[in-house]
Symmetry: none
Amino acid sequence: MPLTNPTATVRDLIREHYATLTQSERKFANSLLENYPAGGLASITIVAENAGVSTPTVARMVQKLGFKGYPHFHKSLLKELQAKVSGPTQRRENWVSDAPESHLLNRFSQAVTQNLSQTFSNVETDRFDAAVRQLANTDGRLYVVGGRITRALADYAFTHFQAIRQRVTHMTSSSATWPHYVLDMVEGDTLLMFDVRRYETNLQNLAKLAAERGVTIILITDQWASPVTAHASFTFNCWVEIPSAWDSNISTMMLLEALIAATQEEKWPETRDRYERLDELFDLTRLFRKFT
Amino acid sequence: MPLTNPTATVRDLIREHYATLTQSERKFANSLLENYPAGGLASITIVAENAGVSTPTVARMVQKLGFKGYPHFHKSLLKELQAKVSGPTQRRENWVSDAPESHLLNRFSQAVTQNLSQTFSNVETDRFDAAVRQLANTDGRLYVVGGRITRALADYAFTHFQAIRQRVTHMTSSSATWPHYVLDMVEGDTLLMFDVRRYETNLQNLAKLAAERGVTIILITDQWASPVTAHASFTFNCWVEIPSAWDSNISTMMLLEALIAATQEEKWPETRDRYERLDELFDLTRLFRKFT
DNA sequence: GATTATGTGTCAATATATTTTCAGAGATTT
DNA sequence: AAATCTCTGAAAATATATTGACACATAATC
């Protein structure tokens, strides 16, 4: 494992040894990776301070990485930088990343960033806040449902909302069971729906039934808007196009996480309590597993 | 003349003052410009030696440029470097929306952008491509598994990979069933694992067993790296910190989608065929539903 | 719940870097 | 060609960085 390949960059070395690093050493490692390589080019005193650790911690860590001492590490970083700049034909231009412009990763990340920014700037904060208040309202039940692809997102939403508040139900993707859930829905309940193309008629029917019973529907859909919009109190559109045959759900995920984060903040410190109790329970579960 | 424009780079300063520099000072200036900025980031002793001049010469020159002393000059160069690296990321913060700076949505999106860029720049394209080739290899089976939180991601991965290639298995999150799967694993199979903190011992055990059977493990984890790393052939670290009590999985999702997209591209037009047949089947299903 | 192991920061020592001072080498002027 | 001026690097003085030793805190183990 510790190859100590002579051409390995400091970044590589950190990755390689990350598992063996201690907490504060990782603190420094992260600080360096986040601002690479500048974060390691000042004096040990300064970089340690910037990372919020003591100088010996930095000294110990660079030794773990295989350097003789901080100056050796410093020199190595400098050489890397030099190779990058003065190297023949800008050696793979790995300043920000080592991916060539045409590589799929690059095209992909560009599309994603575009999507996120589009999605984000299309959210009205007032509407967002109102939706969050609805999600935080535990007087009514919260139902979560998704389609074929978005089932995973619904699942993710369920896992997190369940940690934040009580009375959450994940409606399985099998639409045969939905009528049972609808039967119990009452005014004041909330239905969080995911529907991206190809839009599913079942979800539309479900939305209609729920709306008729006075349920508040929060819809997360794509930029072309699912027909469920007609029944929804809150609709959020997410930009999903990427260079591929299918649609990306990263912006969808972002919006969902933002809703979760906001709901959690709204219900703090109630949520804090739940988290702590949850943690205890997990610990118990883990103990139990030891005997299986 | 000495504008001392706050945004002026050291390079600019040198050009501006070049006329007033003495012979050896120019010697150092040229040495620095030829290897910029690395040529000025070591200690004054070293850079002076590299340029073939004495230390006082360097010290005097940087003072001529308007710096208080060599350390000041050094710090300034570092800041420049830092700005260059974080530049593209920061520039994306022109996400002018009507949201006030302090609104959660804004803070959230900033954190997410940061995470994505961080994650992205830590992926080596070679490793990425190799992992994709492994994922596209249909000689062996592809197993997908996640933990408590990442189960949703594993599900998402399964749904998409199933559309792209045959022989995909989603290992349920209930670890009790895992031995059955392991029993059938053979060399050449691939295991796509998700493990973010808190890392689950079950996943670690699973990884060990699979690795022993010659299975290639592709691990998607967070920036702190799951212990599964030890058994994995390919590890991808995703930055996950957001202003909340839990970790974000947006960058995780991005990496997953990128892997899916790349795998699809690798196997095109084979995949195209599958997609078309899949679509037909969906249509049939939909028709069928009409009569229920 | 006591005990060990591990990690962490404070402080002191040692080493290194930076600046200042100063004397000599070249260039320029008288 | 002598006198002066400017530039330059050697060396001392000063400041700062680096490392090692130690003690405390925290986590893991029994």
